[in-house]
Symmetry: C2
Subunit: 127 residues, 2 copies
């Protein structure tokens, strides 16, 4: 199996950076870290798994919520320490109920924040 270069040390774990992008619209859904175990499970199952730096364990995205990320395409960057997963996102990627985690727009002078997206689910009903 071809694997990325897990060269970033976060805590005691070697990881690569993983970006999930909507395979149809190109919207960036979330950014997280992935270790070798999470990458292998992603390939074996066809669904994205990450490495949670807070829980220090592999995390099957959508395991609790059902909001899984089905892998459509995989890209490595030039030094192979970052991955783009083009995915079919069920429900929403964000635990807040938003489709993408990147729903906070910062003004160009970084003086104001605006919430940009509508909710796609109610987190109180999902978690």
């Amino acid at each position: 199996m071809i694997k990325p270069n897990f060269r970033h040390k976060i805590g005691d774990r070697l990881v690569a950076t993983a970006v999930a992008q909507d395979y149809q619209t190109g919207e960036v859904l979330m950014v997280a870290f992935i270790d070798e175990e999470a990458y292998t499970k992603s390939i074996e199952t066809g669904y994205v798994h990450y490495y949670s730096t807070s829980r220090k364990s592999v995390w099957y995205k959508g395991e609790t919520s059902g909001h899984t990320q089905k892998i459509k395409e995989i890209f490595f960057d030039c030094d192979e320490d970052a991955i783009v997963f083009k995915v079919e996102q069920l429900g929403g990627a964000c635990h807040t109920g938003h489709y993408s985690c990147f729903y906070t727009r910062i003004s160009p002078d970084s003086m104001t924040k605006t919430e940009t997206q509508n909710m796609v689910f109610n987190p109180d009903e999902v978690y």
Copy 2:
């Protein structure tokens, strides 16, 4: 100035993750880290600066090549430790001559790699 949460420790530096995305097509151009100094310079100049984990210093993207990333929009994710910069990319983002660093497509079973993009510049003429 509103700043992201620089909570990932890489080496001795606290960083956030930064994604540059083409502001028109949504193509992901590159993924790197950004520290507080690089973020502040990005906001002050309007052009993306990163933190280079190999050189251990702030890096004005395009300083050598002229292939700068002009900031059009900025988004933070839900826990504010990742940033999407929607940018106008001059030339190409990748030192290899590709427009995006994510030019290597991995087959879904991770058994083969394919180079997907055409070159937009000749690196021998730029660096």
